[in-house]
Subunit: 343 residues, 2 copies
DNA sequence: GTGAAAGCGCTAACAC
DNA sequence: GTGTTAGCGCTTTCAC
């Protein structure tokens, strides 16, 4: 046999998948040219473009984005962290976030922190280790330590569903205190006197409740009893919550709930007790999930533009990733009370 | 100055983050040793372990999993595909999947295919390109072309929430036809005669409906009218569905709904029309979401162990990724009818 | 127990 | 337009 050229010494490694090299060889061009033909077609000649396209089709080549991300330090991965996905409140946000990102070629990694922020550390490590192009934090409080790590990592961060005085980086949210105050004013305007609260025990819900309570006080209304239930809030907890509330204060005539599901529970419990909604008891929810409008009686609730939050957050991340400066890094997206039959 | 050794010619690239090299230099060992100290501590001496731990703490080093994944061809990333996250049916599955994976050091990537499988192609490309260690398909039908690409990619796949005759790879599901049949038998046993269906228009829901219809026929019951509503199913669509069903067949005395939310809509609509549930109208849902048990009347529904599905799927993927053979690659996880007040 | 060398598959930088 | 070179940050292989 003829002496072989220093053979590539076929490696013991690799996934065995088709690589850009294979495509390039097949197309008769250099790897970088094949790369350009795929990423920036306007930079190569029509002939090359065609040859590469053919080679891709023939081999079924799928670019390895891990390798690309490593080389370009742009992973096109975005991490989203929610307390728990089954809370339902953030579904719309996560959905629109996923879609908006996908439209730009980014992929979403989902992390669940738990409401009690103990897994936070391991989660942060897992996330930062993946070098995402951005992190979207939704509905979670984070420890000072966590904030520091995020800042140190230098990854764009968007906090959502809240307006914190000292954001880590960017922010798309609204004021929970304002919500509480607005609902108290609304119920007072409707002539309600003896207000009550059934709320999940997470930080933001508590802030709404506290503001609600304070506003009622300012309005000269009687002390507002607050029943806290475990998070995530469920229909059953809403029922239990109302039962507890009535035990404390039998004459309540309006209840502010920290979620629509909780409100549905309150309405359900009221019905089984022969309490008419809204006649005997006004009920206000939070979130304006789809079912709120369709209930009978329909549910008065606080509408949050969850989908808009997701889209905005995606836009912030993508802008940053593409090197654009984000025009408005802090957005108060507001909220609105949707008056319906229940209050 | 003394002539420098061929200087590393400080690169124009890189993220600027602390790397394993930095840690190793600080600890006074070779990079590979630092790597071992972190990944397989039992392979290095106590002294080295300590020095490396110190260096990590001092620098705040977070391993770059992209690089690790590229080198080891194990990304520790798992992709999950759902039709849309806002459908709620799969929430429990996604939640337990995320958690079970996180417990093993894997991270979840979420993809939404849409019920109408047109985005499927782009999504598959995005997923495969990330070289995940596994893919979990939940509640979606996939084109023959899509199946082929998945198989060609050689990535472990777990299909869930269905029992397909020819799985792509692994499977954790149950038979939708069996569900339809079982519910028909249940209602018949309860003495119901004029059955109806309100169903989302996705493939699996249709299969349940068809089997339900066929079983009713076999039982000698009158022809079963089926009202199809758009997916995702919502409370409002349930209300509309019942209205439509009553228009077609005013004397229905039992309705099988393709989701609990739809069932809640049907119950709501029935109540506003003065139809008693279950006296005038029996209602059966599907999914057994948390609220089903807490409604008044409580909702009879088909219970699916969503969390168990997620856990099992995670186990399948992890086992495969670690090179173990999966004992039972096809699991029929079954279902059960939960008899409650509504039927 | 520790290390040197050689990539994993891709792209940034700089030629030509 | 196209190619060469040199990494991105890590782990595998093989040697000591």
């Amino acid at each position: 046999m003829a002496p072989e050229p220093p053979s590539p010494k076929r490696s013991r490694r690799g996934s065995g998948a088709v690589t850009l090299h294979d495509v390039a060889r097949l197309a008769g061009v250099a790897p970088i040219t094949a790369s350009r033909a795929l990423k920036t077609p306007q930079q190569v000649s029509e002939a090359v473009r065609q040859k590469v396209a053919d080679a891709v089709a023939r081999t079924g080549y799928v670019p390895n984005l891990l390798a690309g991300g490593l080389a370009s330090t742009r992973s096109r991965l975005v991490a989203a962290v929610v307390p728990t996905i089954s809370g339902m409140v953030f579904l719309e946000t996560v959905q629109s976030l996923t879609e908006a990102l996908a439209a730009h070629g980014y992929q979403l990694m989902l992390g669940q922190a738990g409401y009690s922020g103990n897994r936070e550390d391991a989660l942060l490590e897992a996330i930062i280790g993946r070098r995402p192009d951005g992190i979207v934090l939704t509905g979670i409080m984070h420890s000072a330590e966590g904030r520091r790590r995020l800042q140190a990592a230098g990854i764009p961060v968007v906090e959502t569903w809240d307006l914190t005085p000292t954001p880590i980086d960017m922010l798309v949210g609204f004021s929970h205190s304002e919500v509480g105050r607005a609902v108290a004013l609304y119920l007072h305007a409707k002539g309600r006197q003896r207000l009550g609260v059934v709320t999940g025990d997470d930080e933001r819900a508590r802030r709404r409740s506290a503001a609600f309570q304070a506003a009622a006080h300012t309005l000269g209304l009687p002390e507002v009893p607050i029943v806290q239930v475990a998070t995530p809030t469920t229909l059953q907890r809403g029922r239990d919550g109302l039962a507890q509330l009535l035990a404390q204060q039998p004459r309540v005539d309006a209840v502010f709930c920290s979620s629509d599901l909780l409100a549905l529970g309150v309405m359900t419990e009221a019905r089984t007790r022969g309490l008419g909604v809204p006649d005997d008891l006004a009920v206000v929810g939070f979130g304006d999930l789809e079912f709120a409008a369709a209930l009978a009686p329909s549910l008065t609730t606080v509408h949050i533009k969850g989908a808009a939050i997701g889209r905005q957050a995606a836009q912030c991340i993508v802008d940053r990733a593409e090197g654009r400066t984000v025009a408005t890094p802090v957005v108060d997206i507001g909220f609105s009370i949707v008056p319906r039959q229940s209050a």
